[in-house]
Amino acid sequence: MLIPVLFGMTLITFSIVHLIPGNPAQVILGETATQEAINNLEENMGLNKPYFVQYGIYIQDLLQGDLGTSLRSKTDIAQEIWPYIAATLELTFFAMIFAVFVGTNAGIISAWKQNSLFDYVAMLIALVGVSMPIFWLGLMEQWVFSQELGWLPATGRENSRDPIEPITYFYVLDALLQLDFSRAITVLKHLILPSIALGTIPMAIIARMTRSSMLEVMKSDYIRTVEAKGAGQFIIVYKHALKNAVIPVLTVIGLQTGVLLGGAILTETIFGWPGIGRYVFDAISFRDYPVIQSGILVVAFFFVIINLIVDLLYTYIDPRIKY
């Protein structure tokens, strides 16, 4: 499944990018360029070749790990893109940790204590959470926690006057690898606000999904059997019910992670986060075709990988599922 999906992705990104009106050669050379200069540049870059030939060249390079050269910065995209990917992956990871931890527990307790005050409050928060625009939440967070209270930094990944020596570009990991705990804490502090802003919608969706799935499972015969054994509520809820309820929740977690990877542009912009979303966004305004293609492709690649992991987790959780 992995390979055809990725192949399809290359086809789609390639087509979409070429369907966007506008001439990259024109953009590079500027408004006043002569037609001759534009033609020369198109010749050099292969833009005057038929589309399928261009696509063939693209795939050939891709298989060799060559994502092409950025039209704007003239550097190799495969090298240039990694820090952005790492930034996005790190942010997504922490956002999802927040979303999964808070979301599942809120959902479980809501289902366990159905129609209690906790249930009503948690589901109200979840409703507000899915409905709230991210940019507004982000700005409010910055205003309250950064501007007014001064607890947390508002933008960036690290203290720019005291930067980290990058190894993997996952800054938390890098700081820990260098046993530099004070920097690690600084980086974590930078992560808190954007993670919450980014994780709020998935958290709300996960909470609602977990609740409904748990309620369904709690009615089943095997839960009654466990009760009849004399098991305590904690075992019933967190062992027997949760494992059965988690599969649809896992699907949502996988899909939401993918959404965060690709759709974090707003959050990244508000919090000055140098992630893949902003990288591609900037590329779009410059008609930097190779960067746009590569950016989308990389996001699609991680999306597919995450869903593959989710599929593998299904088989681990449910012995009845076999591929």
Binding site: Y222, T225, V226, E227, G230, A231, N244, D318
Partner: protein
């Protein structure tokens, strides 16, 4: 007479729904003695399952609630018992098996895991020791290759095997009372017979009392010592299996027995009681069976018949038995056994 294990007195379990209060169990009294197998028989909706779930305090609340009555188990009233105490009784002193072996085991845990859990909830035991016990229990209920089955998942077993696993689980703490709620209904006939044999064998070997809920008089005839017939939330007749089957008194019981297919009577239309069980309501007037009863007369529609005591451990809720009574047990009082 041997010691009573379970003594239910005037139990009222009601469900509070949007459409009003439903007295699913309306003044049921029954008892089970040590080593005895008592069958509770009735159509769907007669309140037999609710009675059994009430004993375990497993009525989903809301909407269900035990409104009044007592459930005496070894000298304790389970209705008044706290949830914490109840957990110690469930699975340990009273065990329960259910109708649907297909869905009664958690599909995501191995048989062994679920058995070991049942053992370790009530016994301080290491995992290895508990596993050994689990294998022994599986062997005891006649599961071949018990050592392998322990590590298998429920979906890898047949319905009959799963029901054996359920029984093994119920046996894990050697309970004084086993409540079996339609344990054979979902199984085919040969497997049914095996499961009943197994239950009778455990009953004899361990002197364990069984309260068997069923709608199948064949099952009753097979293993029960005594029978309680329920209709629309009430006990309508009680007696030994022999008495009930040979000489039913209450018209509903008569109807049930007539509805059994008879091998000798070929080419005859199978008898069925006309109509359906009425939804129990609060303040029902008259005998609940009267609308479907071929013997019904005016009084049946005006008054509720009490449970007439017509012999040793023999009762019937029908005005026709008024002249046979030895002692009348009024509707509100505990039945006095004579």
């Amino acid at each position: 007479m041997s010691k009573r294990v379970l003594d239910i007195n005037e139990l009222h379990t009601h469900f509070f729904t949007d459409k009003g209060e439903i007295p699913a169990v309306d003044g049921v009294s029954l008892n089970v003695s040590e080593g005895e197998i008592v069958g509770v028989v009735g159509e769907s909706g007669s309140g037999k399952s609710v009675t059994s779930l009430s004993v375990m305090q497993l009525i989903p609340n809301p909407p269900g609630k035990i409104v009044s009555g007592e459930i005496m188990f070894k000298g304790r009233d389970l209705v008044q018992t706290s949830l914490k105490q109840m957990k110690k009784i469930r699975g340990n002193e009273i065990a329960m098996i259910f109708q649907e072996p297909m869905t009664s085991l958690n599909p995501l845990f191995t048989i062994g895991n679920q058995l070991i859990e049942a053992i370790r909830i009530h016994n301080k035991m290491g995992k290895g020791e508990a596993r050994q016990k689990a294998v022994e229990l599986l062997e005891q209920v006649g599961i071949p290759r018990a050592n392998d089955i322990v590590d298998e998942y429920p979906h890898q077993l047949s319905g009959g095997m799963r029901q054996r696993v359920m029984i093994a689980m119920a046996m894990s703490c050697r309970p004084d009372l086993l409540i079996a709620d339609e344990p054979t209904t979902a199984l085919d006939v040969t497997i049914q017979a095996q499961i009943l044999d197994l239950m009778r064998q455990l009953n004899r070997d361990l002197n364990m009392a069984i309260l068997l809920i069923t709608h199948d008089l064949g099952v009753i005839a097979e293993i029960c010592d005594r029978v309680v017939v329920m209709y629309a939330g009430q006990v309508v007749e009680e007696g030994t299996t022999r008495e009930i089957l040979k000489d039913p008194q209450q018209p509903y019981t008569k109807g049930l027995i007539r509805s059994l297919p008879d091998m000798k009577a070929k080419n005859q239309k199978l008898y069925s009681i006309p109509g359906t069980v009425p939804k129990p309501k609060v303040d029902m007037v008259g005998c609940r069976f009267a609308p479907r009863c071929e013997y019904a007369f005016d009084r049946c529609f005006a008054e509720s018949p009490p449970l007439y005591h017509i012999g040793d451990n023999r009762t019937s809720r029908c005005f026709l038995n008024e002249r046979d009574q030895r002692e009348v047990a009024s509707h509100d009082e505990t039945v006095i056994k004579g």
